[in-house]
Amino acid sequence: MTTTTLAQPAEVPETGSAPIVVFDDVSITFDLKPVLHHISFEVAQGETLIILGPAGCGKSVLMKLANGLIEPDSGTIRVFGQDISHMRETDRFALRKRIGMVFQESALFDSLSVENNVAYRLNEEGVPYDEAHAKVEEVLRFVELSQAIDKNPSELSGGMRRRVSIARAIITAPDLILYDSPTGGLDPITSTTIIELIVKQRDVSHTTSLLITHRLQDAFTLATHRWNPEAGHMEPIPDGKIDDSTRFLVLNDGGIVFHGSTQELVHTTDPWLREYLS
């Protein structure tokens, strides 16, 4: 297990820290079609796991499994040490309070304004309006979207929707963030600004995260850039170094093709993987 100097300062020693997400021999079938079979991997605290793979290979399914939104046919999934796959839905709600999720198409509530979308969790918990409003302003400033607070989701562009969705996921400072294709369907420039936001979130909060992307370029930007708090933008990590909390998981045909560090991915000898990366 690689753990990190950057992501976990003092609290976690190299060994002995419990992994945040554990998939153990997980399989799932939809309508007789096996989507994932015998998937096992772990995500350590502070790690950013980038999930790659061709469309329809089960990346989104894997992420929904990690949040207990669907149940596997066999195998177990442990999140924060608890078995989320065999749990009553009412008990999952407690666990999900610690997980933020950004959906593939943002999944904003059309019937609510941006403010109420972002404050959704706080409103559900009965946080007083003033406190919730202050929190919403703070988190919208973080995602650089303060001006849109009174808008409705239908008035927003794709990139803005993605930012609102990220704001909604991080407002309660979760211990695990799941990003499902945060740059899907966006133009390259907007994609880069979203990736910059994710780098910022990673380097400011050191939150463990899973991130699906189909754009290799985004994945490598994440691995080779860091957030510069003084300058207020992201910059390449000097000397061509890479962020060692970033790891990769490549799926194909419902199985894991690769799981390892950026270095190992770049120097892979697997022919399918080389083809996919090129």
């Binding site: 929904k64 949040n67 939104l69 839905e89 009412t90 709600f93 999900r96 309070k97 997980i99 999720m101 959906f103 593939q104 198409e105 999944a107 904003l108 509530f109 059309d110 959704y120 969790r121 559900e124 909604r168």
Partner: protein, 258 residues
Amino acid sequence: MPLPFETFAKQKIASVQEYSLLAGRAVANVFTGRRYWADIYTQMDSIGFGSVPIILLTGFFTGCVLALQSETALKQFGAVNMTGSLVSLSMVKELGPVLTGLMVSGRNASGIASELGSMKVTEQIDAMRALGTDPIRKLVTPRLVASVFMLFWLTILADAVGVLGGAIVSISMLGLNFTYYLHSSYQTLYFADVAQGLAKPVFSGFIMSTVGCYCGMTTKGGTQGVGRATTHAVVISAIFIIVCDFLVTRLMIGIFGR
């Protein structure tokens, strides 16, 4: 390989089971835990007050037609002055509840199914679960409570305007006396008739909201799926309402003897 019929039957049984679970949970949520009052009021407004115009119109003209039809039949027995009691009995026991149920379900089962269906296909329902909210508690229960409560009052409204419509036709076209019409309408109704007429909307409200929510929450296959879910919701709830009307009528006759 399973037979084609076998998979079909299994699917249908699974749907019935899923529907029962959804309806059961929605009802259980009424009595336990957190209640979303704001959502209940919003739904009462859109389901209840939004349906008032169509209920006024259908109720009124049903009453008018009933008066005309009764007159041709009653004339043969020289009993045209019984028109009032025939209109009020038919309205209160049968046509008021059933037509209100069908009209409101046409409007709301489809509305609920398309709204929840769109939420389902755009992953808003999953997002809700991911944010720690039970969608049955937040979406289904408020619609169930609002439908049952509002349909009850809408039925009373339909009955009243139906009797009024009958009165207008009887007086202006059939030359009956207004006081006599009202008197006979009122005299003919027993407690059993009113109880039967007011029990039905409780069931219709339950059916339209749970069927609408079930079709919406199980929508598959994008925007096309939303269209299918909407159609299913209307057709299934209309059939259920009529079948349930028959069963409730039979039960009430068993209890009250009329």
